[in-house]
């Protein structure tokens, strides 16, 4: 007989490493990074099981939860490796996905490239069906079934594996789409379908069609991947069901995720934000800006009053995907960003990056261009002998050489000035990026705490905060694996929305309640599939609301317990409109969509029995570092793993740990607080 399974595993796949966090009640939090296996990402996940058994003596049967953050969906799009799909549209509208919204992002160019996801289904794989529903949901032309069959035959003849169906006004009357699926399934049972009335039941046919087409494009790929992973886990003896992080920041059973793959694009980044939220809460900050500095880019997200900001439509590879997702904004600056001199003698950093291969010059893998990481070595911020806990040896002489050759000499500077220049430029870029992300949301960054994550984040923390006039920085205990940790505290979440295009005036609350009740039933069914009963789930309701005549909406909570929920909804809409758009008037508003969200379990923090380090001296040998405005200064260096709660450190200082290095500039003070997190503050 095996013991009762209690171990929780979070696995987040990144481009270079697959991060594993293992949490057993009463035991220490264990983490490991396993090299990713891009050709089949599930291999690294399965390797982690073997690693746990060997290294930590955790048997597969002990695993109670296995939660996964995946980049498979995003990579399938970036690498164009999704399924071959066809698209069925209303007669006269096969080019909707090609024309798009017409706005272009490349403003200054004599050469325009297509900016719509035509690759999903080029012209010959888009077929028209004779049918038409009008703007009230009324049928103007009944579904012509022979035209459906002819179109499907033609698509199948072209070798499609999946079909996306997107008819006009199907969000008001889904009958034609549902019947089309029946026809497809009865004739071609192997063809996978995605219906726009289910994937994204809201007006605006281009956005709905794109979301539906992406869903179909991903479905066979995600289905195969998750099935393989489920099978692999079962084979290895893990009995716990596989759970997957969705873009919105909630997890769901793999079986459900496989049916709604378009919701997985931000699986990884969402876990990072949820992890950040956990750390912020533990450190007493519910208003956070998380900055995940990776090799090629940095991801910025906001947490307001303990909630990650959600956007109704995101972008994947430049294409709009109208699925609710954590509002993560990417700018092209990271640790691997390359510094270069342009034709007019200016110092630029990025957007090109040395990536993981060859990586920065100091990795010694043939990188011949100076990166931000190389500059960090020259400036003394990083210890070449203790990078990634000493597992990756760096070559400081290569960093010096490359900074000197490619930046210092051409600009007539010393190598130190050049390295400092690289840091100042990249910090300015990141700081302005963070500022614009918060301003767009109507927030003043000064009132937020900065939460740098990713291995490369904490070295920039105080510099960014200073630029942004932020006075609190929180460095998580394990910033390098925060996404994997976030997986373990995230809630199970099921969210279902439906179009409800009704003016608020003369709307009866009973109608709203009836619609929400039907959404609840569907969410509850999904919860039951994960063995969660009705009493365990917390339910919240939202309405997307806009002024009549306006076409962009805001998500507002519906408070059923309020004496006048509709009035309350309207008031909150006005307040939110004022924050996001800078004004509000008491003009008539309407509901666009209604949404029910069921959430269960989840945790505020990972309780672990980390033994507080005692006795050992956390102070390592100090070293000289170069700081803007200070010159070379002697910095104390600390080993974070030996710093007990309550330890305080004044800048200038360096705090080292396995997965990151934190730079504390002068005028900043760092203190180890609850949960082992580092709170860095200034009087400024």
């Amino acid at each position: 007989m095996s013991e009762k399974p209690t171990v929780e595993i979070g696995v987040d796949i990144g481009g270079t490493f697959t991060d594993v966090v293992c949490h057993a009640p009463g035991g220490p939090l264990r983490i490991v990074k396993i090299p990713s296996t891009p050709s089949d990402p599930s291999q690294a996940v399965l390797q982690s099981i073997a690693y746990m058994a060997e290294t930590w003596a955790i048997k597969p049967a002990q695993v109670a939860r296995f939660v996964h953050g995946t980049t498979v969906a995003t990579n399938a799009v970036l690498e164009r490796k999704g399924a071959r799909i066809g698209v069925l549209t209303t007669e006269g509208f096969r080019d909707v996905i090609e024309i798009g919204r017409q706005m272009r992002h490349q403003m200054y160019s004599v050469i325009l490239e297509p900016e719509t996801p035509i690759f999903l289904a080029p012209g010959a794989r888009r077929r028209e069906v004779r049918e038409r529903v009008g703007p009230q949901g009324e049928v103007l032309i009944a579904l012509d079934e022979p035209s459906v069959l002819a179109a499907v035959d033609a698509l199948v003849a072209r070798g499609v594996e999946a079909i996306a169906v997107s008819y006009l006004f199907s969000f008001l009357n889904p009958a034609h789409e549902l019947r089309t699926r029946e026809l497809i399934e009865s004739n071609y049972p192997d063809i996978v379908t995605s219906l726009s009335c289910e994937v994204d039941p809201a007006f605006r046919e281009y956005e709905r069609t794109v979301a539906t087409a992406f869903d179909a494009y991903l479905k066979p790929v995600i289905d195969r991947y998750l099935a393989r992973l489920e099978d692999g886990l079962t084979e290895m003896g893990v009995e716990a069901p596989l759970q997957v992080m969705q873009s919105r920041g909630g997890i769901s059973a793999s079986v459900t995720a496989r049916k709604r793959p378009v919701r997985l694009f931000l699986s990884g980044p969402a876990a990072g934000v949820i992890g950040g939220r956990m750390v912020g809460r533990a450190s007493g900050s519910d208003d956070l800006i998380t900055v995940d500095v990776g090799g090629t880019s940095c991801d910025i997200a906001l947490v307001n009053r303990g909630k990650a900001l959600i956007r109704a439509e995101g972008r994947i590879d430049g294409f709009p995907v109208r699925v609710p997702m954590v509002d993560v904004n990417t700018i092209g600056s990271g640790g691997g960003s390359i510094a270069w001199i342009d034709g007019a003698g200016g110092l630029r950093v990025g957007p090109h990056s040395a990536g993981a291969e060859p990586g920065p010059a100091c990795y010694g893998r043939g990188g011949g261009e100076a990166t931000v990481t190389d500059a960090s070595i020259v400036l003394g911020y990083l210890d070449a002998n203790y990078f990634a806990g000493g597992r990756l040896r760096l070559y400081p002489e290569l960093a010096h050489e490359v900074v000197e050759k490619t930046v210092a000499k051409p600009l007539g500077m010393t190598v130190e000035e050049a390295a400092l220049g690289i840091h100042r430029v990249v910090n300015a870029q990141m700081a302005e990026g963070i500022r614009l992300v918060s301003i767009r949301q109507g927030f003043d960054p000064r009132t937020f705490a900065l939460l740098p994550l990713g291995g490369a984040g904490p070295v920039h923390g105080t510099a960014l905060a200073r630029e942004l006039k932020i006075t609190r920085i929180i460095i998580p205990l394990h910033p390098g694996v925060l996404s994997a940790a976030g997986l373990l505290v995230a809630q199970i979440e099921h969210e279902i929305a439906t179009a409800f295009p009704r003016p608020l005036a003369d709307l009866e609350m009973d109608e709203v309640r009836a619609v929400l009740a039907s959404l609840d039933e569907r969410c509850a069914a999904l919860m039951r599939a994960e063995a969660i009963g009705g009493e365990d789930a917390s339910i919240s309701y939202y309405a997307d609301v806009c002024y009549i005549g306006q076409s962009y909406h805001l998500e507002i909570p519906v408070r059923l317990n309020d004496p006048d929920p509709l009035q309350c909804l309207y008031r909150e809409f006005l307040t939110n409109h004022d924050r996001v758009y800078g004004h509000s008037t008491e003009a008539p508003a309407r509901i666009v969509n209604l949404r029910s969200i069921h959430q269960a379990r989840g945790a505020d923090a990972l309780t672990s029995a980390d033994s507080t380090p005692v006795g050992e001296n956390a102070v390592k040998k100090g070293r000289k570092i170069l700081l803007a405005g200070h010159g070379w200064v002697e910095a104390a260096v600390y080993d974070r793993s030996l710093m007990p709660e309550g330890t305080g450190v004044d800048g200038p200082a360096i705090i080292e740990q396995e997965d990151t290095t934190t730079l504390i500039e002068p005028d900043w003070r760092a203190a180890v607080v609850r949960g082992g997190n580092l709170l860095v503050t200034t009087q400024g």
């Binding site: 006269g92 160019s109 006009l168 007006f203 034709g343 007019a344 430029v425």
Partner: protein, 668 residues
């Protein structure tokens, strides 16, 4: 440059971010759809001479980098802290306001008692009064019809709003609340700019802040110069036309001679037609201006996307724009539809650049951005529902190595289209088709893009159809390097029915229940000899329905049978070609060829030169007489009334003789 490269890059980031923050603030707090959705607004920071040294990337109108605030600043008088200047007057603002609905604000940014920079913002307001709602009409003949004119004056004095001005302003536009809301959004944006400028001055010092402005401009100048040096030295001449000026069928010509010397570019617009009677004029006062130079900006950033976006790019550019031409009209010529000649200027520069760089530049785009508008009858309350059914565009031209993009416009306006599901929920219309127009892309080794098409049915009586700015109905978007022109635009009522009617260029057309309107936008020009196009690409286009089989055979020499290329038949067809224009640098199409068989470059230059010597009041009449003397049909009321030029000018020798005679009568 005096600033060290590190500080330069840091401050470059910061001032650009400041203009973007201004733009975000404006868009966030603006009130009208123009601001919120079509992003028809702008923000920037100008130096003490009124030239932009920082311009936002990715928010607002991208093309206004070459605007100049100097005259506006000088006209408004001595400035004090807290003052804000407003203007919408194209002439009095020195071309800063490009037409009356564009409300411009300029605020001096002070440090102590000293001006250290200027903040700029503009919005396209929904209405500024005048003859018609939205203030712009193609039949306006003087500026006064285009709404309230605001010469540069102070809307805010030392922080105090000029309430009298707002009262007057509100009384002179049809949407006062929205307009005032947008002005407040602009003021908020300018306030953000002041705050960011003050922070920068405090952090880096006044000297550094002043020096950086010049350095950033010089930086852009140097970078742009490198890109412009890739144009071989020489003089490149090109001209193109607007279909007509709404009052006659005579095409309106825009001509440039572009001289490039070691990365310096001189644009001489001599030979362009006199100012038009209607509002197809660009008020430049003879200076470099965004609507004249935009193609150069696009060229520079295509070569070097890392070039800073600011006025320094245009330090490499000089212009000669003769006074009295439509590119430098005299007060009070109207300018409301300046986008039409602006789009054409873009094509003209494209043609000049194409001669210099035929392997780099594409064929010409569809050259149209037309809002097709349905006006419904008044249901009481004095309000007629006005719905933009769709912003219709053409496509982009083919270029060496790549087909044009179907259904996308590459010129400067960046209007989002409307979802069909929004249109039908709001307007009394049902859309039956909205897509790519087959067979409209110019044939070529690299095909020109196909334009868009829309077909909708009107659901009630007493409506009116508007389609202002429609162009390329007669002269086609030209092909390049042996490529063919794209199809001209067509707009038809009840296509394929007994009551079918060609609408041509429309101002206001009455439509009723059951009428079906079909608007087919022009395709773009192709690139290279179509008989050299890869047969597989032709087959793909046929399978996608973008090229029909007959056209594949006729235009491309590709014979397709049973879904495959019939290779022997294709080889035979391709070896036996007649009447190709493969040898021509430009494929202009039959109508323009017929026109220029009479009205050639030399004669039109002569005419333009002589007309400009006449007083403003006499020019248009004299011009009309010239064309009427050659052919009475050219005195028709608008282009729709005139048959094809190939028919009208069927004997070019006779027409030329008449033309020479009448040109001889013009005063020297």
């Amino acid at each position: 440059m005096k600033t060290d490269p590190v500080l330069l890059e840091i401050l470059s980031n910061k001032v650009t971010a400041a203009t973007e923050e201004m733009g975000i603030t404006l868009q966030r707090t603006g009130r009208t759809l123009y601001v919120k959705e079509t992003a028809d607004f702008g923000t920037a920071l100008a130096n003490l001479k009124g030239k932009f040294f920082a311009f936002p990337v990715g928010i607002g109108v991208a093309g206004f980098v070459d605007l100049d605030c100097a005259q506006t600043i000088a006209t408004a008088g001595p400035l004090a802290p807290g003052d804000v200047i407003i203007t919408n007057h194209p002439y009095a603002s020195g071309g800063l306001a490009t037409h009356t609905p564009d409300i411009q604000l300029v605020r001096p940014y002070f440090h102590g008692e000293r001006i250290v920079a200027y903040g700029w913002s503009f919005i396209h307001s929904a209405d500024i009064g005048g003859k018609v709602p939205s203030s712009v009409s193609p039949t306006n003949t003087e500026l006064y019809q285009e709404g309230l004119l605001i010469p540069p004056m102070k809307i805010v004095k030392r922080g105090e709003m000029n309430a009298d001005f707002l009262t007057l302003y509100g009384a002179n536009c049809r949407t006062p609340d929205l307009n005032v809301g947008d002005i407040k959004a602009m003021l908020a944006a300018l306030e953000v700019g002041q705050r960011r400028v003050s922070e920068l001055v405090e952090q880096y010092g006044l000297d550094a802040f002043l020096v950086i402005q010049e350095d950033l401009i010089e930086y852009a100048e140097l970078k742009a110069r490198e890109a412009l040096r890739q144009i071989p030295d020489g003089t490149y001449e090109f001209w193109d036309y607007l279909d007509d000026d709404m009052f006659s069928p005579v095409p309106v010509r825009i001509r440039v001679a572009m001289t490039v010397t070691d990365g310096r570019v001189h644009l001489d617009f001599s030979g362009s037609d006199p100012e038009t009677l209607g509002p197809f004029n660009i008020v430049t006062l003879g200076r470099s201006h965004p609507w004249l130079t935009l193609r150069l900006l696009a060229y520079v950033y295509t070569r070097d996307p890392t070039c800073p976006v600011n006025s320094g790019v245009f330090r490499n550019v000089t212009v000669n724009v003769p006074q009295g031409t439509l590119l430098n009209p005299e007060f009070p010529s109207p300018a409301g539809v300046r986008a039409a000649p602006g789009v054409r200027c873009n094509d003209v520069l494209n043609g000049a650049l194409a001669q210099a760089l035929p392997d780099f530049m594409p064929g010409t785009p569809g050259g149209n951005i037309v809002p097709i508008v349905l006006v419904e009858p008044d249901d009481g309350g004095g309000k007629r529902r006005v719905t933009v059914i769709q912003f219709m565009v053409g496509a982009t031209g083919g270029r060496r190595g790549s087909d044009g993009v179907d259904g996308r416009d590459p010129s400067f306006t960046n209007m989002a289209n409307n979802p069909i599901e929004t249109i039908e929920a709001e307007a009394s219309a049902i859309v039956w088709e909205y897509g790519i127009r087959p067979d409209s892309g110019g044939a070529g080794e690299w095909r020109g893009g196909c334009g868009q098409t829309i077909s909708f049915e009107v659901l009630r009586d007493g409506c009116a159809l508007l389609g202002r700015g429609l162009e390329r109905l007669r002269f086609q978007p030209w092909g390049l390097a042996g490529g063919c022109p794209g199809s001209p635009a067509r707009i038809v009522l009840n296509l394929g029915k007994p009551n079918e009617r060609k609408l041509g260029k429309i101002d206001v057309v009455p439509v009723n229940k059951g009428d079906v309107v079909t608007a087919m936008m022009p395709g773009a020009g192709g690139y290279g000899d179509p008989f050299r196009r890869d047969p597989a690409l032709v087959l793909r286009d046929v399978k996608r329905g973008l090229v029909n089989r007959a056209a594949a055979e006729r235009d491309y020499g590709i014979v397709i049978r049973d879904g495959h290329v019939d290779e022997p038949a294709t080889a035979e067809r391709r070896s036996d070609r007649v009447g190709s224009n493969a040898e021509r640098m430009f494929g202009f199409g039959a109508e323009r060829d017929a026109w220029e068989a009479v009205f050639d470059d030399a004669r039109m230059n002569r005419m333009a030169d002589r007309l400009l010597r006449m007083p403003k009041a006499a020019r248009q009449l004299a011009r009309q007489r010239v064309f009427a003397a050659v052919e009475p049909l050219l005195a028709s009321n608008g282009g729709n009334a005139c048959p094809p030029f190939a028919d009208v000018l069927s004997d070019p020798a006779v027409s030329r003789k008449r033309l020479d005679a009448v040109l001889g009568e013009l005063p020297e």
